[in-house]
Symmetry: C2
Subunit: 678 residues, 2 copies
Amino acid sequence: MSVDTTCISTIRTLAADVVAKSNSGHPGAPMGMAPAAHVLFSQFLAANPKNSKWFNRDRFVLSNGHACVLQYTMLHLLGYKLSMDDLKLFRQLGSLTPGHPEAHHTDGIEVTTGPLGQGFANGVGLAIAGSHYAAVYNKPDFELINNFTYVFCGDGCLMEGVSAEAASLAGHLQLGNLIVVYDDNGISIDGHTNIAFTEDVGARFLAYGWQVLTVENGDSDLDAISKALAEAKAEKNKPTMIKLRTTIGFGSKEQGTHGVHGSPLKADDIVALKTKFGFPTDKKFYVPEDVYTYYADVAARGAAAEASWTASLAAYGQKYPKEHAELTRRIAGDLPEGWEKTLPVYKPTDAAQASRKLSEIALTSLSTVLPDLLGGSADLTTSNLTKVKGSVDFQPPSTKLGTYAGTYIRYGVREHGMGAIANGLAAYGGIIPFVGTFLNFVSYAVGAVRLSALSGHQVIWVGTHDSIGLGEDGPTHQPVETNAHLRAIPNLAFWRPADGNETSAAYSVALKSKTTPSVLALSRQNLPNLEGSTIERASRGGYVLIEEEQEDLTIVSCGSEVSIAVEAAKKLKEQGVKTRVVSLPCWYTFDQQDQEYRLSVLRSGAPILSLEALSTLGWERYSHEQYGLKGWGASGPYLKVYESLGLTGTNIAVVGQKVVDFYKKKGGPVVSPIVRAL
Amino acid sequence: MSVDTTCISTIRTLAADVVAKSNSGHPGAPMGMAPAAHVLFSQFLAANPKNSKWFNRDRFVLSNGHACVLQYTMLHLLGYKLSMDDLKLFRQLGSLTPGHPEAHHTDGIEVTTGPLGQGFANGVGLAIAGSHYAAVYNKPDFELINNFTYVFCGDGCLMEGVSAEAASLAGHLQLGNLIVVYDDNGISIDGHTNIAFTEDVGARFLAYGWQVLTVENGDSDLDAISKALAEAKAEKNKPTMIKLRTTIGFGSKEQGTHGVHGSPLKADDIVALKTKFGFPTDKKFYVPEDVYTYYADVAARGAAAEASWTASLAAYGQKYPKEHAELTRRIAGDLPEGWEKTLPVYKPTDAAQASRKLSEIALTSLSTVLPDLLGGSADLTTSNLTKVKGSVDFQPPSTKLGTYAGTYIRYGVREHGMGAIANGLAAYGGIIPFVGTFLNFVSYAVGAVRLSALSGHQVIWVGTHDSIGLGEDGPTHQPVETNAHLRAIPNLAFWRPADGNETSAAYSVALKSKTTPSVLALSRQNLPNLEGSTIERASRGGYVLIEEEQEDLTIVSCGSEVSIAVEAAKKLKEQGVKTRVVSLPCWYTFDQQDQEYRLSVLRSGAPILSLEALSTLGWERYSHEQYGLKGWGASGPYLKVYESLGLTGTNIAVVGQKVVDFYKKKGGPVVSPIVRAL
């Protein structure tokens, strides 16, 4: 038996053993893709298992994340921080080997996959990042950045729209450093792919502008796999898809059927499998010593490659100290000294502006000191105001529309792909991606947004047109539920700034949050700069904008409704109702403040009324009474839409009075909703 | 000037005038697509403007909904219930001509469009529905159902993943009754499509198995348009895409640029336009009389077509009374007599079962009386348990895998496409679509789900694996925020039934709700049948499961956590803490009950503690204290995951005691959170 065959049989039998022990998981794809994994990791993938964060490593993404036993096995065999005991704890609580791969959880995992199609699109992001870094930092005499991104994916990933969006963009962008190995095994959970997926995948990818190669026998023709990967690397101006024909669950009695997709192999099947492969049938988790030895050599080559690169980086530093300083700062994930000073500061006398415009001003200012920012929009640039004036498009040079050093990505109308690509950009390191669309269409991309939050990717969403305030486009474009939705996602900062200083605060906190994504909900309409708002105060997520001693009422609000609350408070005061106003632009950030501070903002003693031109769901956490949308918005000039829904200073004053009367009549002390048993 | 040219110039100048008057909207695409609209509506579209609901009408979908001035104009000219005054109120509050077309709002609008890609996928649903009806009800001597679905779309729609998913499935399904006219104008909001969308769209659709035709001059070559549409109709075994090369904003000084995409034409440009077309420059909203006459003839032909069809339907009734009765019942949107009696009823002694299994039992039973049910899953059939045993796949006969009369759709891994297709199925009439995936992946499809709710499409989502209770798959697959998200969408019923009777109740209410979509969140794990649950009680959305006089505590819960609440209540009672348990499977339904009932369920007097194994956001509306997930779930056997998060009877009893103690110490009356000023 050749060592290659032994390695592959080891991967296959380990997959069967690991899934059998946990009695849960997917053995089929790991067994089918074992040859491709072996060839890729041993012959192609430039990586150092002893330092999984080496910056110029090739990136590997297992888009069909349910096949993670394959990835965990490779990581273990190559000597990443993943022991055989970890493999034995597959899918157990608290283990390093959860049911799907999680970034920032297991050494060597680049991105979180499992939700189908995400990894594919993350891969496009990683490849964009690589091209960008290469264009910015490589010099004629120093090819510092030249890594590839390899993606494994299955049929499921390619049926998902998110991968279609990303694939079309990758073709347009001519990403020669992206190589996708498509496990064309003809099987998905429901059975043979002929029941729902009969398109010509290769022809589709050719239409996208990809190179498409086919390996007819992915089960055992290692030369063909190797040749295809080499050919893929050689094509510099197109991403490559390798259609790899494999047999799912290769070696099992049920190979080639969906019976091996998502269920453990039976005990007798595993015995038969090992017999077939010439492996001892009485041993579980068996790794022949020469397999460890073989992969140790591979790992040593990786360590040597990093050492050589590190020396090269030092030499680069001698010749290009400025670029070197910037590059190493970015690799370290630090922000440059003094960047915060560039944040715009506003006075109440400054002109009212839409917060999308305030966002543009902030981005313009930040871009002068933060080359880390790599922005884009899903074909709404002039609405989202995400393009800094003078910035260059990220485009293949042949288009003459930009360069790979450009910092503005034209995503096309592809929100979900954009979100997943941004996760890949963030995962690459040293890039802070921001992406723009209407707030309502962040919903198209939430499959990616929740993975940003789960994985701790610092992605900034510029969600403009953040309420009925967008006016004429009407309810199809007006978010209602989006605030509740995004506030319910753990580790996601949803900001709705009320004015210029709050917008700067949102950027300030978002940029400092290295492992938390942020969604900035920004208005289409103009907002006045508020008396009492400062970057510092807003950076706490919530603060008292208008203070009153022994108040009768507090109105808590955010975004474009804060100025309506201020107007209502003024009217109420004229009527003798002392009204405080609290601005709460970011619940997530506010909740991180200490209890004492939070209670000083939302204090006991008087009823608290919330005000937001979206769903009221969740505001009960911070208020006794809620005013907002009970249904959909409407198409019309925005002031009329606001008026029709009672969102005016005059009406909120009436509502506030009603609340005050109700609580007076009710009697007894009014306790802050912040005061809780739990 | 030929009458065709006059008609087209009228459409173009009206588009310019209407958008100019509202000073908001998109004139470019309507002006570019005017010839195609004219040819389609006058020569092809079988429809009766005087009865927009004629069942065998051709369906028209404007997927690029921002171009709705075109659709509104056509509806007006053809004599639908849309006056010139309505056109003049374009994008004004309360008008019949909102910023994007809304189903159930404007006569003649089939589906709500604007969010890009949705209409395209809706069209696939409409075409599936037509094929299905034809297969079920047509007889060799009666081709009762033979309508086509025509979709107009633009570049934006084709960049979106949702349309890619639907297009791939439509090709697989060989939908010969689907014809898409792609406005290939090379322009999107950010500029020329060459900045982000350079794929070969035609080749892509060929790869999907479509027929692809090209009209080189869509601006004025009416014969070519007509020929292409005829050729599309003639292809019976493939959907057709017609690539129509047009000039956006045809006739404007800025034609062919993105300057005419989303902004009104300037006054002088409109004058020049009218001059160019030989139209009076001093008249606005000008429709030559022969244009009205021409379209009146078209409308008359449509009315005659319906009359002839109605006669045919009557003759069909003579020969096939049973099919006729069923067909006419479905067209009327009625449910058959006695269908509710088929709902399964459970006793507490019945075996514990997963609610996904209870759902399967309900569907199996309901299917015997409800041919209206057209189900499917996004490649998770054996997990969602959505396929009724013995049901036939909806497949093209040539595949030999099913027939068009089949009631089970293999959607593939295409959640967003599935959701949007289901909207099309519902919009067709007489079909109640249900669709399955993991609850977590309903998030992939929310772009479609919120449009179900906005449009009032009765779609039933079978969202299984509804919490951390799915166990080993881990946090990538475990919903956390999904409950808050879906509960915040207006006109959407989110159900988390706790047992068999509650699952039947969920189906009962969902099937009766003709204009409200439902999402059923169902467990992977077994749930005991609860003492006290009945279909009738659960049908109110919330009810008292365990009653106690002068209670110390109420625990309100739903889904798989209700039995944990029951266990906690028992333990608390043993400790002398009288604890009520309220089951609240559907907030939306509960909120529709009268205040007296709701207050009897969630009454004042003792603290209320909520319990759900998802985000707590929003539970503040129904409880004083909340227990649930503060972060992500985890991969592991589900009981261990529950235990690690304190979701056990024992721990909830401890939490309950803490709540009781807290409120005792606080003193004063405890008022129900239902009691509100607003």
